[in-house]
């Protein structure tokens, strides 16, 4: 069977999580992959927990069901950890990327995690320092470009530019790219 990489995003409404999943898909497509990006739709409110998903494959994607066993989990909002099991359904070699100032060892302990590899990045601080607002989605993408082989940093910067230019000024686009680059450098491994 063809290898399919599945990603599950955990965030809260207003943090750009759905946009992150969208840019992730577009970036993977720029790298020649077949892609899917889909949020889990429910009542949409600022601050409400939400999930979004990606599938990426070298061959056309037929699956149109939920992602239940994601190989990559991106936690955009660390305050979700108390209420949501972000490790649910993850395989032994899962990659976790968590937005937190803590180091990976502490987070592994907090999560009582026995498997996979865990990375942390202080995406909120990075977004506050670059964008001036707590929208950690683009730095999370920068971290994912570093720790997974699904998207490349160069493609990510290009696709972020294309995507955000539709809505944001050139200055803000540039600041998002700075956020990506910083997260790419600052993501911490165990």
């Amino acid at each position: 069977m063809p290898k399919i990489t599945e990603v599950r995003w955990h965030g809260r409404g207003g943090q750009g999580t759905v946009t992150a999943a969208k840019i992730f898909a577009e970036t993977a497509m720029s790298g020649g992959k077949h892609v899917q990006a889909f949020p889990e739709y429910g009542p949409e409110r600022m601050g409400a927990p939400l999930r979004a998903y990606n599938r990426v494959s070298d061959t056309p994607l037929a699956l149109h069901c939920q992602v239940t066993n994601p190989g990559i989990v991106a936690v955009v909002d660390v305050t979700l950890l108390g209420t949501i099991d972000v490790t649910e359904g993850t395989p032994d070699d899962a990659i976790f990327v968590i937005n937190t100032p803590e180091d990976p060892k502490t987070m592994r302990k907090n999560l009582n995690l026995q498997h996979g590899s865990l990375f942390t990045v202080d995406a909120t601080t990075i977004s506050l320092e670059t964008l001036g607002r707590p929208i950690p989605n683009t730095p999370m993408l920068g971290a994912l470009a570093k720790v997974t082989d699904v998207i490349s940093k160069d493609n990510l910067i290009e696709d972020t530019r294309v995507n955000l230019s539709k809505k944001l000024s050139e200055e803000m686009v540039q600041k998002n790219i700075e956020a990506i680059t910083r997260a790419y450098e600052e993501v911490k491994s165990e």
Partner: protein, 393 residues
């Protein structure tokens, strides 16, 4: 070859509409179809199309305005979902009875109550007797391809019928996938200029449309409508052939997959077809001779073609993403089973109602269907004719 883009099913359809550039588009927003018209309204505002966009106060009015514009001689499109389609009910029959080739995108969604915004086929299946050509799409690419083809199918000589194209709400409408758009010019050349057959605006040949038609002629007109639907079969294949020449993508009434040497098979339509194909591959690796068939065209129902494609199977599961309460199974099942009745040898056929209100159809429930089919094949006995799948008991 067109360019690969990543976009939602809704945005792909809005782009198809932009390229089609209909004369008139009347619509009223309803989730999950809203995004189609929202994007299309931007195209109108930006001058990307010449379309007269009519913002109406209800779906009933949307279809009414569409009927008026189509009768006048315009190429007309709209989009809706669920209760919006239900509110059009009366006008759906008037569009088809007046032989007006309107093209409508239906972003399939569950009908209320209880209120639910997610994808199932209860809306479009409920309109199956309304005299519209009906097609279903597995993904955004197919939705895009189908709605472009729907224009020409409906306008074909001898057909002149409205056509609706379904796409599963949220599962496809709000999912980003990569797909290929044709160049604008390719679409416009493919469609050509619309020459309405009997436009009301032709003052040199005044006609009456929609007059009283009692015992003396109503039956003949309905018979003509039924014949037009039969003629649509040839038009569907002709348009598919021409479309393949432009796009490279092939379409028919249905798409079989690993069906030829199969003992057991699954028939499905919409987005679940992809997941089912995935399961077929998994099962084939285990040596299980299972195949599948994705139904694209539900109206006109391709009876003879399905008979040919399915007659060799020993057991068949028909998947329905809507129920027909009190009937002998879901709507797709009733028709497929009826089509197989005259075959000297036919598969034992069972029905699964699944995915109502957007309930996920994952890999394991489809594996269960395959297991059931294997048992039916071995024992030659059906335990349960109609099963509600993906439901708590």
């Amino acid at each position: 070859m067109g360019k690969q883009v990543a976009m939602t099913g809704n945005i792909a359809v809005a782009n198809a509409m932009r390229q089609i550039n209909p004369d008139v588009c009347a619509a009223y927003p309803i989730t999950p179809s809203t995004e189609v018209m929202q994007q299309f309204a931007s195209f109108v505002a930006d001058g990307k199309v010449d379309t007269e966009l009519v913002t109406v106060e209800s779906e009933h009015s949307a279809m009414s305005a569409g009927i008026g514009a189509a009768a006048a001689g315009g190429r007309v499109m709209t989009a809706t979902s669920a209760n919006g389609l239900a509110l059009m009910w009366e006008m759906l029959y008037i569009a088809s009875g007046n032989r007006l080739p309107i093209a409508m995108m239906v972003i399939n969604r569950a009908l209320s109550a209880p209120i639910n915004i997610h994808g199932d086929h209860s809306d479009e299946m409920g309109a199956r007797d309304a005299g519209w050509i009906q097609m279903y799409s597995e993904n955004g690419q197919e939705a895009y391809d189908n709605i472009i083809q729907a224009i020409l199918i409906g306008e074909s000589e001898g057909v002149l019928l409205p056509a609706m194209v379904g796409m599963d709400g949220f599962i496809i409408s709000h999912s980003i996938e990569n797909l290929e758009l044709l160049e604008d010019k390719q679409v416009r050349d493919f469609l050509g200029e619309f020459k309405p057959k009997h436009p009301l605006l032709n003052i040199n040949k005044p006609i009456t449309m929609g007059p009283l038609d009692l015992q003396d002629y109503y039956s003949e007109h309905k018979r003509q409508q039924a014949q037009a639907m039969q003629k649509a079969k040839a038009a569907i294949l002709k348009v598919a052939k021409d479309y393949k020449a432009v796009s490279g993508r092939e379409y028919g009434f249905f798409e079989p997959y690993k069906l030829e040497d199969a003992d057991i098979g699954i028939l499905t339509l919409g987005s679940s077809a992809g997941t089912t194909r995935f399961v077929v591959d998994l099962m084939r690796e285990k040596g299980i001779k299972v195949g599948m068939i994705k139904l694209r065209v539900f109206r006109p129902f391709p009876i003879e073609e399905l008979q040919q494609a399915l007659s060799h199977l020993k057991a068949l599961a028909v998947m329905d993403r809507s129920d027909s309460f009190g009937a002998a199974g879901g709507p797709v099942f009733s028709e497929v089973r009826s089509a197989l009745y005259d075959l000297p040898a036919r598969p034992k056929t069972v029905n699964y109602i699944y995915g109502l209100g957007g309930r996920d159809l994952g890999i394991s429930p489809i594996e269960r269907v395959v297991k059931d089919l294997q048992e039916i094949h071995q024992t030659e006995k059906i335990k349960e004719l109609v099963t509600h799948l993906t439901v708590r008991e």
